[in-house]
Symmetry: D2
Subunit: 323 residues, 4 copies
């Protein structure tokens, strides 16, 4: 059986642990609100980690079904929720020095979420350096950069980040990245936070060094939003829809349908990937208005970060610090 | 049966006339070279037009399988081929006043081909106006603009173009647009030229007024390149691949496979579209590096136009007029 | 004596009418508030028009000394003031169909104010067209476009605008443009509104057709903000500062100083322009952070327009409609 | 007397050593060609360094009076000259690992030269890493990045660069930056190369750590092009023009003129700067079409670097590697 990678712990849990199934060492709780729901996946031991193929730690998923077509009130609400959840990790306080890293390739629109957030987040470290301050009542000490990707710079993102962390010694690294999802309906509607580290380019199969406390020496909070699915996903999902409609409608095809249904979900997915790969390599499936989507999402994340990090900023000012 | 729309006459011929089948009123000739092939579809009467659902006129398709990963020599070669084919339509000469229109939405990368070509093409009309010249030995009189799309301006592209044509009275309108294809392997490898007019936003289902000689009073040459396929296309193609591999490998599923195979290609496509639509609306499938692809293609088209229109420019200077 | 052109009526009045001098046919009133002042220049007859070299009509100047380094509250305040002043012209109501035109060259940062406003203003005409509505309680019918400049398109902006006006027949044209000022301290701190029309490229000496009620058949409201001064201006101003400091400090140079002082301001300016021109042609003087300045100003103007035009938008929502 | 800073050694030599005057420890040779001239300033000892206020080392200035309005042949010629001069420093060979750094603020057009060169230069290190190669016949091992400026990232450029140098250990750092000149006619017509290091933000008065062999442990080649002058420069130059024209034309003002002329050039410049500073802070003087100028210059520099660094690239391919 192929190993199906997904960036989202919630999907990994469903894939390897099953949906609505208890897995030892993994706790899942969901809180449902009017406009969104929050799912907290906690992987508490090595056994849980192996079961769902995600490292030990906390994974929080904010699902906002209407985020795609959200009005401004919903965006503000989600910025606030995001800000609160970031704070709840307890990794920062008003004295923290924070480095925000926007991962991804700014030349490929669906991959540009991280760099766009970095463009928009409030950066303050220069004031602390220039006025030789250690602390400010209203502002945290925040630096931010987008290291680009190896195809652009020739340098591993990890090396750039590690180099900078060693020089400026922040207390916390926050990495923002665009993710790949296995479900179209998660694209630009799900925000995942986790404290287990992140691999630049991880979701697309590159093996680079992971950004986490053991490689960098400081805690890492990762914020990711799926912005693409791969082509196999939509073929798989369509096939499921066709099979289930055929099953209802007719006796015909029962045999084939049975075979397909007997295939575990993953075997089917692997079959599709195998067939598609030579034909669809380097193809992505993305919302038509992905440029606008990335713009909106980067504002939400930057606002959420500004609320979470700076004591003097709350939701009523927050749109003002955004470029 | 659904009506399957495609921007490409060559696909429309295959869909409604059949591949390698003679259709009355439609002639198809293909010329194959080392790096590319040219297919000329001529719809000569109303009967042919109805058969393949494309208006009477000439359609030229330049297929360049390696255009996606082309080196600079191939790009130059295709610019030259394109320049020659544009000239062969016989719609312009050294005295022509030409208006180039870049259709599409500059904020959506795969739709930005037209506006990018307009950015890059050599514009000369201002010199004719400022020096009150009628003719220049080396330069044709060329104006160019991108009218945007209705979602951006609130104005139909047709109205902007018609307004400008009425004011500056060009002899020929050349419209460049990104197209949708039904085949992934045509994306960014096929250039279509036609003298039958073009509808802004046509390929994505909008009904706007068509740019052609009867609506504008001047001939219209359309240049289009597929930059996206819709999601139904890749599901359909994958299904075909799966079915044909299953057919070979096993007895199982024969029944279902027979049913699917009995469905005409179009019925299957329609079924998939129906299933996918609510789920995948506003989703596109596009090359991962679409930003680079659009950049490269816009240079090829702009170079081809510069060669075709300006007597004083040939392939050895052509990269110099490109921004 | 040279004719010194300035885009600003308030400067033209000072130049040709004198500062604090009554000019027949020209009334000037000023209202001073905490953060800004509003000067209303009304040219009521042909005599006044000739005296100050500006056409008959109303000119409103909003001066905001701190606009350059404004906080978000000041920006909101000025958007509101601007919205109110636009409405006060009485040229639009909730049934008006409005076309907003962003003049200028989007490739030259200080000239890109108009195009940037067009990018950011709320465009709604497509909804009226698509739903075949004539009226909406909350939204006016607004279209918007940036025609570019002749150096880019080869087409006079006037011709594009006239063509579109003839096709979509708006009730009011609002033109936004970057202006040249003769004073550095007006750059990005002064907003001028007028109902007397505007010439695309006027301030930089091009003679193009003017956009006004007699050329277009509909009223024209022009909104302009100085974003550059020319080099002669700063030399002139510096010379004045040097002379006045020298006059105080020493007996020396009295003779030269007398000569310079005897030159009318305009002769001195002309002398400087004459000397500078061959040497500084095509040079501009602009704030270092002009990219940010244009961004901020375009948001203020777009917000002001949204407030003025759409009955359902007020200052508390206004930042939400901005891209 | 004020210390007048200039980025250009050739200007510093004129300012502090005098024009056409021999200075001990400083050799100056000029080679004049049809379209350009090359001046080589060699500061050979501490005495020379103190005399002209530039560190010991080599400074090469390529002056190309028509570079501003250059045709494509001139651009290619200058790329080639630049490539040859880079190679002549002897700091790289076909085995060198090179890191190209684009200094400056990508949001401020005249400061974006460095980041634009980085966007356009051929980056190859990823191939050496991915294929675990040490050497390639045609390609050098080149990485490139733009660290931004402290106002954007909150991090000193030096710290980012030092961090990356420590991680990837290149043999040579090449830094590209936009400079300030004291003469308008040097803007975008002069290219300076030097092996003495460069301070990020140096020319505009910031004191950051210098990039040089003693701070980084590897040689540094700096490539700079003036893209702005400050306002004092043009006032000063205009004043000189006015004075010299007045001197010829009339007896009047002799006294004042004599005073001004007696002021050493630098005292006059300082006087002007003092008068202008409160009034013109943060103002720059730049070519109107600076966006195009930066585009052209970045192509020339990127081409020059590609020729100098990669054994397999010469002028006939060079435009092909440029984005």
């Amino acid at each position: 059986m192929y190993h199906i990678y997904t960036d989202l712990a919630i999907e990994s849990k469903e894939l390897y642990g099953g949906k609505d199934v208890e897995v030892e060492g993994v706790s899942v709780t969901t809180e449902t609100m009017n406009n969104y729901s929050i799912t907290r996946v906690k992987v508490s031991d090595e056994k849980g980690a192996q079961s769902i193929r995600k490292p030990i730690g906390n994974y929080i998923t904010i699902d906002v079904p209407d985020l795609n077509n959200s009005d401004e009130d919903l965006k503000d609400e989600i910025s606030k929720v995001l800000g609160k959840e970031i704070k709840n990790f307890g990794l920062n306080n008003s004295h923290s020095k924070i480095l925000i890293i926007g991962l991804g390739n700014w030349n490929i629109t669906p991959d540009a979420l991280g760099p766009k957030v970095v463009d928009r987040v409030l950066v303050t470290r220069q004031f602390f350096v220039n006025y030789q301050k250690d602390f400010d009542e209203d502002m945290a000490n925040v630096a931010a950069m987008a290291p680009g990707v190896m195809g652009i710079t020739g340098i591993e993102s990890f090396d750039i980040i590690k180099g900078v962390v060693d020089k400026i010694k922040p207390d916390l690294l926050i990495a923002v990245d665009a993710l790949a999802s296995r479900k179209m309906d998660r694209v630009s509607t799900t925000i995942q936070l986790s404290d287990t580290g992140i691999s630049p380019g991880g979701g697309v199969g590159n093996k680079r060094m992971t950004l986490n406390i053991s490689t960098l020496g400081i805690p890492v909070l990762a914020i990711g939003i799926p912005t693409v699915v791969n082509a196999a996903t939509i073929v798989n999902d369509t096939l499921d829809l066709i099979i289930s409609s055929m099953k209802e409608e007719a006796e015909m095809g029962k045999e084939f349908y049975n075979i397909l249904e007997q295939l575990s979900g993953e075997d089917k997915y692997s079959l599709i990937e195998e067939v598609l790969n030579p034909y669809m390599k380097n193809t992505i499936v993305t919302p038509k208005d992905i440029d606008d989507v990335i713009d909106d999402l980067s504002i939400i994340v930057a606002n959420g970060l500004n609320i979470a990090l700076h004591p003097g900023i709350d939701i009523k000012d927050v749109n003002r610090y955004i470029r």
